[in-house]
Amino acid sequence: MSWRPTHAQVRAVSLAAVLLLIAVLGRRPDMAVLGLPLAFVAAWGRYLRPHEEPVLESELDADVLFEGQATTYRLKVSEALDPDIDLVVMSLVRTPWFRYDPPQAAVAESVADGAVTVEVGVRSERWGLRQLEHPTVIATSVLGGYRVQVKAAEALAVSTLPLRDGFEAVDAVPRPAGLVGLHRSRRPGEGTELAGVRPFRTGDRLRRINWKVSARTRELHVTSTWSDRDTEVVILLDTGAEVGISEGIDGRSSSLDTAVRAAASIAEHYLRHGDRVRLIDTGTAAGGVRAGSGRAHLRRILDVLVHADRRGRQQDEYQLARRHRIRSDSLVLVLSPLLRQGILGYIVTLVHSGCTVIAVDTLPPDVADVIDLEQHDARTWPLAWRLRLLERRAELDRLGDLGVPTVGWRGAGTLDEVLRDAARVSAAPRMRS
């Protein structure tokens, strides 16, 4: 691409030429009054015509965000800019699940001192890995006489992690593997057993700061503890179906949205408390993560959850049981809309193998009201959903009879009641048959 005259330059040149010609040949000074200013504008634009094509590079302040977080997309001149370039206009093609500032994602910046930086704010509204489209960049000369379309900068990808709300649950865990006093936990975490004093790291609680040591060493130190318990928490993520409408972090959530966000929050909570967390995907979309603990493990889980919106082949209950062997003392949290027979059958298998299973219902409450008028009949669709929900209610009751509580996801505190119940049941004396 090279610098080309714009409509404005062609207009000024052609009109000035014709008017001045008529003025001179036809002895019409009035035409000179109309034509000379245009000739001047055309000559000025021609004189300040740029010759070098600007080389621009794009960058993001942060390519990993949490849902609802924003970053800045920046377009910069990588080398010295032709001083005759007046304006650089960048227009980003809007990508779904991103909100831009300004909303239309188009900014015009004038060149000052041979440099220009064009910035657009980008806010990610849904978890996932997405590419920002190539921006359209146009540079123009003074008086809009010439323009060039600058080669598109490379596309940048933004990874949005599904973690926003802080999730909290009671400390009750049905069968903790490590107990303070008897068997000290193998992992550091929230607890009362002293593990040592170490330098402060980002994320440490302020109440853990050891002020005496900090004052002596002139550097912040915290008192670290061993985790009070050490349970394997298995998060079973049902990626088989996405029911409902997804409107991003500020709108309605689909079943998959709720499941993924809940999985991230639960993993963060238990890893913070020193437990081992494992992620199992019922399909092949997200893949799984083996049991582990610590902050790096949380990042591994979040990185895997980012890919959960891809369509993957779903496994039935037999394939799930064969591929994912779960220890009988594990706490299994099933995040699912609980509509597929395969997932219900696998829950029954887990209960029979001795696991403590809690089903977190991710089905949106307004699912019957979501109607696609092109595909569904407006009269029969809600009725069909009511029938299906009645069937589902019966299936969930049967799960309840097996000792599997079902709770809807409400964020913090969702699992408190069922965890207390499960801990109480597992601590009760057992009758041998």
Partner: protein, 184 residues
């Protein structure tokens, strides 16, 4: 994209129009209206087709500043003066010239960015000097031409040839050799 999609996209872009674009398009509309109305109030009889075609082209010019509409609008107004106006220098002519120049500059400004692009005031920094000079050029030329005409300068053939050569040179330079080139 069907018509309703295009219409809704156009409406959303209209809604998101930035202040710079509003100002530029308002300037096109205002100056264009002046250029249309001024010949109409003159003593000479203007062609009936000029206001009609001019109004239509002005609307097109406001909607599509980066198109041939502005060229056609300017040409229409100039043809109106050329066909019926007496060979006279008046302040109305100067005002019309300034209005046409404003239409040209505002169209050039609005045409270099999408209507929804955000632009600060500093984008006009390099426009102020040439635009001011060009606007002042009209009255200066008018006054100079009136003085020369009243002074009845001799040797008008030499003056005409010199002016013709100067005008050709200016236009040749302004058009630049790149006009016909396909690229580098």
């Amino acid at each position: 994209m069907n018509t309703s999609d295009k219409l809704s996209q156009w409406l959303s872009q209209l809604q998101a129009m930035s202040s710079a674009t509003w100002a530029a398009r308002s300037a096109i509309a205002g100056a264009g209206l002046v250029a249309l109305v001024l010949p109409g109030v003159q003593s000479w009889d203007q062609m009936d087709a000029i206001p009609l075609a001019g109004a239509f082209l002005l609307v097109a010019c406001v909607m599509l500043p980066d198109s041939l509409a502005a060229l056609l609008f300017l040409a229409t107004i100039c043809v109106g003066w050329l066909m019926r106006a007496p060979n006279d220098l008046s302040w109305d002519l100067v005002l019309t010239g300034i209005a046409l120049l404003v239409v040209h500059l505002a169209s050039a400004f609005a045409g270099q960015m999408p209507s929804y692009a955000v632009a600060g005031r500093q984008v006009l920094r390099k426009w102020l000097l040439p635009a001011t000079i060009a606007i002042l050029l009209g009255p200066v030329v008018a006054v100079a031409a009136a003085l020369v005409r009243d002074a009845a300068v001799r040797g008008s053939l030499v003056v005409t040839v010199a002016a013709l050569i100067a005008a050709t040179g200016a236009v040749w330079y302004a058009s630049g050799s790149s006009m016909g080139e396909s690229g580098n």
